[in-house]
Protein backbone atom coordinates (compact mmCIF):
# COMPACT_ATOMS: atom_id res chain seq x y z
CA UNK A 1 0.00 0.00 0.00
CA UNK A 2 1.35 3.37 -0.93
CA UNK A 3 0.85 6.61 0.91
CA UNK A 4 -1.32 9.63 0.21
CA UNK A 5 0.47 12.26 -1.87
CA UNK A 6 -0.70 14.99 0.52
CA UNK A 7 -0.21 15.75 4.22
CA UNK A 8 -3.57 17.49 4.60
CA UNK A 9 -6.99 16.94 3.07
CA UNK A 10 -7.82 20.49 2.00
CA UNK A 11 -9.82 19.71 -1.09
CA UNK A 12 -10.35 17.10 -3.76
CA UNK A 13 -8.45 19.23 -6.25
CA UNK A 14 -5.22 18.41 -4.43
CA UNK A 15 -5.77 14.64 -4.72
CA UNK A 16 -4.89 12.39 -7.63
CA UNK A 17 -6.57 9.23 -8.85
CA UNK A 18 -4.29 6.95 -6.82
CA UNK A 19 -5.04 8.88 -3.62
CA UNK A 20 -8.77 8.39 -4.12
CA UNK A 21 -8.26 4.70 -4.90
CA UNK A 22 -6.15 4.26 -1.76
CA UNK A 23 -8.78 6.02 0.38
CA UNK A 24 -11.52 3.76 -1.04
CA UNK A 25 -9.53 0.56 -0.51
CA UNK A 26 -8.75 1.59 3.07
CA UNK A 27 -12.41 2.51 3.60
CA UNK A 28 -13.41 -1.01 2.46
CA UNK A 29 -11.44 -2.41 5.41
CA UNK A 30 -12.96 0.08 7.84
CA UNK A 31 -16.45 -0.63 6.57
CA UNK A 32 -15.86 -4.25 7.59
CA UNK A 33 -14.57 -3.03 10.97
CA UNK A 34 -17.65 -0.88 11.70
CA UNK A 35 -19.91 -3.83 10.99
CA UNK A 36 -18.19 -6.03 13.59
CA UNK A 37 -19.81 -6.73 16.96
CA UNK A 38 -17.06 -4.54 18.47
CA UNK A 39 -16.46 -1.66 16.12
CA UNK A 40 -13.24 -0.19 17.42
CA UNK A 41 -9.56 -0.51 16.47
CA UNK A 42 -6.66 0.85 18.52
CA UNK A 43 -4.55 2.31 15.67
CA UNK A 44 -4.71 5.99 16.68
CA UNK A 45 -4.50 5.65 20.43
CA UNK A 46 -1.59 8.13 20.61
CA UNK A 47 -3.20 10.74 18.33
CA UNK A 48 -5.29 13.70 19.49
CA UNK A 49 -7.73 15.31 17.09
CA UNK A 50 -9.50 18.65 17.46
CA UNK A 51 -12.82 19.14 15.72
CA UNK A 52 -13.19 22.86 15.11
CA UNK A 53 -16.62 23.77 13.83
CA UNK A 54 -16.97 27.46 13.08
CA UNK A 55 -20.23 26.72 11.31
CA UNK A 56 -23.20 24.53 12.27
CA UNK A 57 -23.14 20.86 11.41
CA UNK A 58 -24.85 17.74 12.64
CA UNK A 59 -24.04 14.91 10.29
CA UNK A 60 -20.45 15.79 9.42
CA UNK A 61 -19.50 16.54 13.02
CA UNK A 62 -21.04 13.34 14.36
CA UNK A 63 -19.54 11.34 11.53
CA UNK A 64 -16.03 12.70 12.11
CA UNK A 65 -16.30 12.25 15.86
CA UNK A 66 -17.48 8.68 15.46
CA UNK A 67 -14.72 7.93 12.95
CA UNK A 68 -12.10 9.32 15.34
CA UNK A 69 -13.48 7.35 18.27
CA UNK A 70 -13.66 4.13 16.25
CA UNK A 71 -9.94 4.59 15.61
CA UNK A 72 -9.31 5.19 19.35
CA UNK A 73 -8.06 8.76 18.90
CA UNK A 74 -8.52 11.30 21.68
CA UNK A 75 -11.05 13.88 20.58
CA UNK A 76 -11.71 17.47 21.60
CA UNK A 77 -14.66 19.38 20.24
CA UNK A 78 -15.01 23.06 19.68
CA UNK A 79 -17.85 25.03 18.26
CA UNK A 80 -17.50 28.70 17.49
CA UNK A 81 -20.80 29.70 19.06
CA UNK A 82 -19.52 28.76 22.54
CA UNK A 83 -15.94 30.01 22.22
CA UNK A 84 -13.62 32.97 22.50
CA UNK A 85 -13.97 33.59 18.75
CA UNK A 86 -16.95 35.66 19.80
CA UNK A 87 -14.55 37.73 21.93
CA UNK A 88 -12.47 38.65 18.89
CA UNK A 89 -9.75 35.98 18.77
CA UNK A 90 -8.25 35.32 15.31
CA UNK A 91 -8.38 31.91 13.66
CA UNK A 92 -4.62 31.34 13.92
CA UNK A 93 -4.59 32.31 17.59
CA UNK A 94 -7.51 30.03 18.36
CA UNK A 95 -5.91 27.10 16.58
CA UNK A 96 -2.42 27.69 17.96
CA UNK A 97 -3.86 27.77 21.46
CA UNK A 98 -5.50 24.45 20.83
CA UNK A 99 -2.35 23.02 19.25
CA UNK A 100 -0.23 24.05 22.23
CA UNK A 101 -2.26 21.46 24.09
CA UNK A 102 -0.49 18.89 21.86
CA UNK A 103 -3.08 18.22 19.21
CA UNK A 104 -1.89 16.28 16.15
CA UNK A 105 -4.72 16.80 13.73
CA UNK A 106 -7.41 19.40 13.12
CA UNK A 107 -10.76 18.81 11.45
CA UNK A 108 -12.19 22.19 10.56
CA UNK A 109 -15.41 23.57 9.14
CA UNK A 110 -15.37 27.29 8.46
CA UNK A 111 -17.73 29.70 6.66
CA UNK A 112 -14.87 31.29 4.69
CA UNK A 113 -13.59 29.61 1.51
CA UNK A 114 -9.89 28.81 1.77
CA UNK A 115 -9.82 28.84 5.58
CA UNK A 116 -8.29 25.35 5.75
CA UNK A 117 -5.61 26.14 3.15
CA UNK A 118 -4.74 29.29 5.10
CA UNK A 119 -4.54 27.31 8.32
CA UNK A 120 -2.34 24.60 6.80
CA UNK A 121 0.19 27.29 5.85
CA UNK A 122 0.35 28.69 9.35
CA UNK A 123 0.08 25.88 11.86
CA UNK A 124 1.95 22.68 12.41
CA UNK A 125 -0.74 20.00 12.32
CA UNK A 126 -2.48 17.81 9.81
CA UNK A 127 -5.62 19.62 8.58
CA UNK A 128 -8.81 18.03 7.28
CA UNK A 129 -11.27 20.35 5.60
CA UNK A 130 -14.81 19.52 6.74
CA UNK A 131 -16.28 22.25 4.54
CA UNK A 132 -15.03 25.78 3.86
CA UNK A 133 -17.80 28.12 2.77
CA UNK A 134 -18.96 27.46 -0.77
CA UNK A 135 -15.55 26.08 -1.72
CA UNK A 136 -14.93 22.38 -0.97
CA UNK A 137 -16.23 19.56 1.20
CA UNK A 138 -13.80 16.78 0.29
CA UNK A 139 -14.95 13.99 2.61
CA UNK A 140 -18.54 14.40 1.39
CA UNK A 141 -17.42 14.06 -2.24
CA UNK A 142 -15.33 11.01 -1.35
CA UNK A 143 -18.22 9.29 0.40
CA UNK A 144 -20.53 10.17 -2.51
CA UNK A 145 -18.16 8.57 -5.03
CA UNK A 146 -17.60 5.63 -2.69
CA UNK A 147 -21.37 5.10 -2.48
CA UNK A 148 -21.66 5.22 -6.28
CA UNK A 149 -18.83 2.68 -6.52
CA UNK A 150 -20.61 0.46 -3.99
CA UNK A 151 -23.96 0.67 -5.79
CA UNK A 152 -22.84 0.60 -9.44
CA UNK A 153 -19.49 -1.18 -9.21
CA UNK A 154 -17.36 1.67 -10.51
CA UNK A 155 -17.39 5.43 -10.87
CA UNK A 156 -15.54 5.47 -14.17
CA UNK A 157 -17.82 6.02 -17.16
CA UNK A 158 -20.89 6.71 -15.05
CA UNK A 159 -23.09 9.71 -15.73
CA UNK A 160 -23.80 11.82 -12.68
CA UNK A 161 -26.02 14.87 -12.52
CA UNK A 162 -25.82 17.29 -9.62
CA UNK A 163 -29.14 19.03 -9.22
CA UNK A 164 -30.01 22.24 -7.39
CA UNK A 165 -28.11 25.07 -5.80
CA UNK A 166 -24.73 24.63 -7.48
CA UNK A 167 -23.71 28.24 -6.83
CA UNK A 168 -23.58 27.97 -3.04
CA UNK A 169 -22.58 24.32 -2.85
CA UNK A 170 -19.19 23.09 -1.69
CA UNK A 171 -20.54 19.57 -2.16
CA UNK A 172 -21.08 20.28 -5.87
CA UNK A 173 -17.56 21.59 -6.47
CA UNK A 174 -15.83 18.76 -4.58
CA UNK A 175 -18.04 16.22 -6.33
CA UNK A 176 -17.18 17.65 -9.74
CA UNK A 177 -13.45 17.34 -8.97
CA UNK A 178 -13.82 13.83 -7.52
CA UNK A 179 -16.01 12.47 -10.30
CA UNK A 180 -13.93 13.97 -13.10
CA UNK A 181 -10.71 12.61 -11.56
CA UNK A 182 -12.23 9.13 -11.55
CA UNK A 183 -13.41 9.35 -15.14
CA UNK A 184 -17.15 9.95 -14.67
CA UNK A 185 -19.23 12.29 -16.80
CA UNK A 186 -20.74 15.14 -14.84
CA UNK A 187 -23.69 17.41 -15.49
CA UNK A 188 -25.06 20.19 -13.33
CA UNK A 189 -28.73 21.07 -13.43
CA UNK A 190 -30.64 23.89 -11.78
CA UNK A 191 -32.09 27.34 -12.31
CA UNK A 192 -29.68 29.52 -14.32
CA UNK A 193 -29.35 31.88 -11.37
CA UNK A 194 -27.95 29.06 -9.22
CA UNK A 195 -25.39 27.80 -11.74
CA UNK A 196 -22.06 29.65 -11.62
CA UNK A 197 -20.89 31.31 -14.82
CA UNK A 198 -18.04 29.48 -16.56
CA UNK A 199 -18.74 26.22 -14.70
CA UNK A 200 -18.47 24.48 -18.09
CA UNK A 201 -14.73 25.31 -17.92
CA UNK A 202 -14.49 22.50 -15.35
CA UNK A 203 -15.57 20.08 -18.07
CA UNK A 204 -19.15 19.60 -16.92
CA UNK A 205 -22.33 19.74 -18.95
CA UNK A 206 -24.97 22.30 -18.01
CA UNK A 207 -28.69 21.61 -18.27
CA UNK A 208 -31.65 23.60 -17.02
CA UNK A 209 -34.32 21.00 -17.78
CA UNK A 210 -34.55 18.43 -14.99
CA UNK A 211 -36.33 15.77 -17.05
CA UNK A 212 -33.63 15.87 -19.74
CA UNK A 213 -30.92 15.70 -17.10
CA UNK A 214 -32.51 12.69 -15.36
CA UNK A 215 -32.99 10.89 -18.67
CA UNK A 216 -29.28 11.32 -19.37
CA UNK A 217 -27.86 10.23 -16.00
CA UNK A 218 -27.19 7.03 -14.01
CA UNK A 219 -27.04 8.89 -10.70
CA UNK A 220 -28.72 12.09 -9.53
CA UNK A 221 -27.21 13.90 -6.56
CA UNK A 222 -29.89 16.22 -5.20
CA UNK A 223 -28.66 19.29 -3.34
CA UNK A 224 -30.45 21.40 -0.80
CA UNK A 225 -31.30 25.01 -1.57
CA UNK A 226 -29.02 26.89 0.80
CA UNK A 227 -31.35 29.68 1.86
CA UNK A 228 -28.93 30.70 4.61
CA UNK A 229 -26.32 31.68 2.03
CA UNK A 230 -28.71 33.66 -0.14
CA UNK A 231 -28.76 37.40 0.41
CA UNK A 232 -31.09 37.94 -2.55
CA UNK A 233 -33.77 35.80 -4.18
CA UNK A 234 -32.48 33.45 -6.88
CA UNK A 235 -35.90 32.07 -7.86
CA UNK A 236 -39.45 33.38 -7.49
CA UNK A 237 -40.74 30.95 -4.86
CA UNK A 238 -39.98 27.62 -3.21
CA UNK A 239 -43.12 26.25 -4.82
CA UNK A 240 -41.90 27.15 -8.28
CA UNK A 241 -38.46 25.67 -7.54
CA UNK A 242 -40.07 22.40 -6.44
CA UNK A 243 -42.21 22.27 -9.58
CA UNK A 244 -39.21 22.65 -11.85
CA UNK A 245 -36.34 21.03 -9.92
CA UNK A 246 -37.96 18.78 -7.33
CA UNK A 247 -37.80 15.01 -7.86
CA UNK A 248 -40.95 13.03 -7.17
CA UNK A 249 -41.95 9.41 -7.74
CA UNK A 250 -44.10 10.27 -10.75
CA UNK A 251 -41.13 11.84 -12.50
CA UNK A 252 -38.83 8.92 -11.64
CA UNK A 253 -41.37 6.34 -12.86
CA UNK A 254 -41.75 8.16 -16.16
CA UNK A 255 -38.01 7.75 -16.98
CA UNK A 256 -36.78 4.93 -19.25
CA UNK A 257 -34.49 3.48 -16.55
CA UNK A 258 -34.00 3.26 -12.79
CA UNK A 259 -31.57 5.90 -11.64
CA UNK A 260 -29.84 6.11 -8.26
CA UNK A 261 -30.80 9.05 -6.05
CA UNK A 262 -28.33 10.62 -3.65
CA UNK A 263 -28.57 13.50 -1.22
CA UNK A 264 -25.82 14.85 1.05
CA UNK A 265 -28.38 15.96 3.66
CA UNK A 266 -29.98 17.68 5.38
CA UNK A 267 -33.04 16.96 3.23
CA UNK A 268 -35.80 19.49 2.81
CA UNK A 269 -38.51 16.90 2.23
CA UNK A 270 -41.03 18.11 -0.30
CA UNK A 271 -38.69 20.73 -1.76
CA UNK A 272 -35.82 19.16 -3.76
CA UNK A 273 -37.00 15.60 -3.16
CA UNK A 274 -40.31 14.11 -1.98
CA UNK A 275 -40.54 11.74 0.98
CA UNK A 276 -41.48 8.70 -1.11
CA UNK A 277 -38.36 9.18 -3.27
CA UNK A 278 -36.09 9.76 -0.26
CA UNK A 279 -37.35 6.54 1.35
CA UNK A 280 -37.41 4.43 -1.84
CA UNK A 281 -35.01 1.67 -2.87
CA UNK A 282 -33.55 3.92 -5.53
CA UNK A 283 -32.25 6.32 -2.85
CA UNK A 284 -28.93 5.50 -1.18
CA UNK A 285 -29.06 8.42 1.23
CA UNK A 286 -28.60 6.36 4.40
CA UNK A 287 -25.85 4.26 2.77
CA UNK A 288 -24.05 7.54 2.16
CA UNK A 289 -24.22 8.31 5.87
CA UNK A 290 -22.83 4.90 6.83
CA UNK A 291 -20.09 5.13 4.23
CA UNK A 292 -19.25 8.58 5.59
CA UNK A 293 -17.86 7.06 8.78
CA UNK A 294 -15.74 4.50 6.87
CA UNK A 295 -14.40 7.17 4.48
CA UNK A 296 -13.53 9.52 7.33
CA UNK A 297 -11.80 6.70 9.21
CA UNK A 298 -9.76 5.99 6.08
CA UNK A 299 -8.78 9.64 5.57
CA UNK A 300 -7.85 10.13 9.22
CA UNK A 301 -5.91 6.84 9.33
CA UNK A 302 -3.96 7.59 6.14
CA UNK A 303 -3.12 11.16 7.19
CA UNK A 304 -2.21 10.07 10.73
CA UNK A 305 0.24 7.51 9.33
CA UNK A 306 2.14 10.45 7.81
CA UNK A 307 2.50 12.32 11.11
CA UNK A 308 6.05 11.66 12.21
CA UNK A 309 6.72 10.81 15.81
Amino acid sequence: MSELSVNHLLGIKYLNKEDIKLIFETADHFKEVINRPIKKVPSLRDITIANLFFENSTRTKLSFELAEKRLSADVINFSASQSSVKKGETLIDTVNNILSMKVDMVVMRHPNPGASVFLSNHVNASIINAGDGAHEHPTQALLDSYSIRERLGDVKGKKVVIVGDILHSRVALSNIFALKTQGAQVMVCGPKTLIPKYIDKLGVKVETNLRKALNWCDVANMLRVQNERMAVSYFPSTREYTQQYGVNMELLNSLDKDITIMHPGPINRGVEITSDVADSDQAIILDQVQNGVAIRMAVIYLLASKIKQ
Binding site: E25, D28, H29, E32, V33, S43, S305, I307, Q309
Partner: protein, 179 residues
Protein backbone atom coordinates in the same frame (compact mmCIF):
# COMPACT_ATOMS: atom_id res chain seq x y z
CA UNK B 1 22.86 -12.71 -0.13
CA UNK B 2 22.84 -16.46 0.37
CA UNK B 3 19.84 -18.74 0.46
CA UNK B 4 19.38 -22.15 2.03
CA UNK B 5 16.43 -24.52 1.72
CA UNK B 6 15.11 -25.36 5.18
CA UNK B 7 12.16 -27.46 4.04
CA UNK B 8 11.21 -28.74 0.60
CA UNK B 9 7.72 -29.45 -0.72
CA UNK B 10 7.72 -33.06 0.53
CA UNK B 11 8.80 -32.05 4.02
CA UNK B 12 6.22 -29.25 4.16
CA UNK B 13 3.55 -31.77 3.18
CA UNK B 14 4.59 -34.25 5.88
CA UNK B 15 4.63 -31.51 8.49
CA UNK B 16 1.18 -30.24 7.47
CA UNK B 17 -0.19 -33.78 7.83
CA UNK B 18 1.39 -34.11 11.26
CA UNK B 19 -0.04 -30.75 12.37
CA UNK B 20 -3.50 -31.75 11.06
CA UNK B 21 -3.33 -34.98 13.09
CA UNK B 22 -2.23 -33.11 16.21
CA UNK B 23 -5.21 -30.77 15.79
CA UNK B 24 -7.58 -33.74 15.49
CA UNK B 25 -6.03 -35.26 18.60
CA UNK B 26 -6.89 -32.16 20.63
CA UNK B 27 -10.06 -30.97 18.94
CA UNK B 28 -11.75 -34.22 17.94
CA UNK B 29 -14.50 -33.32 15.44
CA UNK B 30 -14.02 -29.53 15.66
CA UNK B 31 -17.60 -28.84 16.81
CA UNK B 32 -16.51 -26.05 19.11
CA UNK B 33 -13.24 -25.14 17.37
CA UNK B 34 -12.57 -22.57 14.68
CA UNK B 35 -9.42 -22.10 12.62
CA UNK B 36 -8.26 -18.53 12.05
CA UNK B 37 -5.53 -17.81 9.51
CA UNK B 38 -3.61 -14.63 10.21
CA UNK B 39 -3.39 -12.31 7.22
CA UNK B 40 -1.51 -12.04 5.01
CA UNK B 41 0.85 -15.03 5.20
CA UNK B 42 -1.08 -17.37 7.46
CA UNK B 43 -4.01 -17.51 5.08
CA UNK B 44 -2.48 -20.03 2.70
CA UNK B 45 -1.48 -22.36 5.50
CA UNK B 46 -4.92 -22.15 7.16
CA UNK B 47 -6.63 -22.88 3.84
CA UNK B 48 -4.32 -25.83 3.24
CA UNK B 49 -4.88 -27.31 6.70
CA UNK B 50 -8.64 -26.81 6.46
CA UNK B 51 -8.73 -28.51 3.06
CA UNK B 52 -6.64 -31.40 4.39
CA UNK B 53 -8.87 -31.84 7.45
CA UNK B 54 -12.01 -31.84 5.31
CA UNK B 55 -10.85 -34.02 2.44
CA UNK B 56 -8.36 -36.43 3.96
CA UNK B 57 -9.60 -36.66 7.53
CA UNK B 58 -13.32 -36.20 6.76
CA UNK B 59 -13.93 -33.43 9.27
CA UNK B 60 -17.34 -31.94 8.57
CA UNK B 61 -18.55 -28.43 9.39
CA UNK B 62 -15.07 -27.03 9.90
CA UNK B 63 -15.19 -23.27 10.45
CA UNK B 64 -12.39 -21.23 8.93
CA UNK B 65 -11.78 -17.50 9.05
CA UNK B 66 -9.07 -15.02 8.19
CA UNK B 67 -8.08 -12.22 10.51
CA UNK B 68 -6.28 -9.04 9.49
CA UNK B 69 -4.33 -7.43 12.32
CA UNK B 70 -3.10 -4.26 10.59
CA UNK B 71 -5.15 -1.81 12.66
CA UNK B 72 -4.12 -3.57 15.88
CA UNK B 73 -0.37 -3.54 15.28
CA UNK B 74 1.90 -1.70 17.71
CA UNK B 75 4.16 -0.18 15.03
CA UNK B 76 1.71 2.27 13.43
CA UNK B 77 3.72 5.46 12.63
CA UNK B 78 6.86 3.63 13.79
CA UNK B 79 7.43 1.48 10.78
CA UNK B 80 9.30 2.79 7.70
CA UNK B 81 6.83 1.20 5.33
CA UNK B 82 3.12 2.11 5.38
CA UNK B 83 1.09 -0.70 6.92
CA UNK B 84 -0.90 -2.57 4.33
CA UNK B 85 -4.33 -3.80 5.36
CA UNK B 86 -5.90 -7.06 4.19
CA UNK B 87 -9.40 -8.39 4.35
CA UNK B 88 -10.85 -9.97 7.45
CA UNK B 89 -13.32 -12.76 6.76
CA UNK B 90 -14.88 -14.04 9.93
CA UNK B 91 -18.53 -14.82 9.34
CA UNK B 92 -19.21 -16.26 12.77
CA UNK B 93 -18.98 -15.21 16.40
CA UNK B 94 -16.10 -16.66 18.39
CA UNK B 95 -17.93 -16.35 21.72
CA UNK B 96 -17.09 -19.42 23.85
CA UNK B 97 -15.26 -21.10 20.95
CA UNK B 98 -11.82 -22.64 20.93
CA UNK B 99 -9.67 -20.79 18.42
CA UNK B 100 -6.55 -21.98 16.66
CA UNK B 101 -4.50 -19.13 15.20
CA UNK B 102 -2.52 -20.24 12.17
CA UNK B 103 0.52 -18.38 10.87
CA UNK B 104 3.57 -19.33 8.83
CA UNK B 105 6.44 -17.94 10.90
CA UNK B 106 6.49 -17.07 14.61
CA UNK B 107 9.26 -14.53 15.15
CA UNK B 108 8.96 -11.68 17.68
CA UNK B 109 5.42 -12.60 18.74
CA UNK B 110 4.14 -9.06 18.11
CA UNK B 111 1.73 -10.14 15.34
CA UNK B 112 0.23 -12.71 17.66
CA UNK B 113 -0.13 -10.08 20.39
CA UNK B 114 -2.03 -7.92 17.86
CA UNK B 115 -4.15 -10.90 16.81
CA UNK B 116 -5.06 -11.63 20.43
CA UNK B 117 -6.46 -8.09 20.69
CA UNK B 118 -8.06 -8.09 17.24
CA UNK B 119 -10.01 -11.30 17.77
CA UNK B 120 -11.79 -9.75 20.77
CA UNK B 121 -13.85 -7.70 18.28
CA UNK B 122 -15.63 -10.93 17.41
CA UNK B 123 -16.48 -12.06 20.92
CA UNK B 124 -14.82 -13.68 23.93
CA UNK B 125 -13.33 -17.02 22.99
CA UNK B 126 -12.96 -19.79 25.52
CA UNK B 127 -9.42 -20.62 24.58
CA UNK B 128 -6.86 -19.61 21.95
CA UNK B 129 -4.08 -21.84 20.64
CA UNK B 130 -1.29 -21.04 18.22
CA UNK B 131 -0.06 -23.15 15.34
CA UNK B 132 2.94 -22.12 13.25
CA UNK B 133 4.92 -23.80 10.52
CA UNK B 134 8.19 -22.25 11.62
CA UNK B 135 9.10 -21.28 15.18
CA UNK B 136 12.11 -18.95 15.26
CA UNK B 137 12.99 -19.57 18.88
CA UNK B 138 15.25 -17.25 20.91
CA UNK B 139 13.95 -14.20 18.99
CA UNK B 140 10.77 -13.49 20.90
CA UNK B 141 10.00 -9.98 22.20
CA UNK B 142 6.94 -11.18 24.09
CA UNK B 143 6.12 -14.23 26.22
CA UNK B 144 4.25 -16.05 23.43
CA UNK B 145 4.87 -19.70 22.46
CA UNK B 146 3.20 -21.94 19.87
CA UNK B 147 1.05 -24.93 20.87
CA UNK B 148 1.79 -26.69 17.59
CA UNK B 149 4.92 -26.10 15.55
CA UNK B 150 6.19 -27.52 12.29
CA UNK B 151 9.89 -26.93 12.65
CA UNK B 152 12.02 -25.00 15.12
CA UNK B 153 14.64 -22.77 13.55
CA UNK B 154 17.56 -21.03 15.19
CA UNK B 155 18.19 -17.99 13.05
CA UNK B 156 19.97 -14.76 13.89
CA UNK B 157 18.31 -11.37 13.40
CA UNK B 158 20.15 -10.66 10.17
CA UNK B 159 18.62 -13.79 8.66
CA UNK B 160 15.14 -14.05 7.27
CA UNK B 161 12.89 -17.09 7.08
CA UNK B 162 10.61 -17.02 4.03
CA UNK B 163 7.81 -19.48 3.38
CA UNK B 164 6.70 -20.05 -0.20
CA UNK B 165 3.28 -21.48 -0.95
CA UNK B 166 2.10 -23.21 -4.10
CA UNK B 167 -0.86 -20.80 -4.30
CA UNK B 168 1.34 -17.72 -4.33
CA UNK B 169 4.88 -18.52 -5.46
CA UNK B 170 4.15 -21.77 -7.27
CA UNK B 171 6.06 -24.03 -4.85
CA UNK B 172 5.94 -25.19 -1.26
CA UNK B 173 9.27 -24.47 0.40
CA UNK B 174 10.90 -22.70 3.33
CA UNK B 175 14.09 -20.71 2.80
CA UNK B 176 16.62 -19.21 5.17
CA UNK B 177 17.98 -16.05 3.60
CA UNK B 178 21.13 -14.32 4.80
CA UNK B 179 20.90 -10.62 3.95
Amino acid sequence: MSQKVLLNAKEVNIILHRLACQLIENHNDFTNTVLIGLQPRGRYMANRLAQMLKEEYKIKNLQLGHLDITFFRDDFRRSDKPLEANTTEINFLVENKKIVFIDDVLYTGRSIRAALTAIQSFGRPNEIELLTLIDRRFSRHLPIQPNYKGRQVDAINEEKVIVHWQEEQGEDAVYLINK
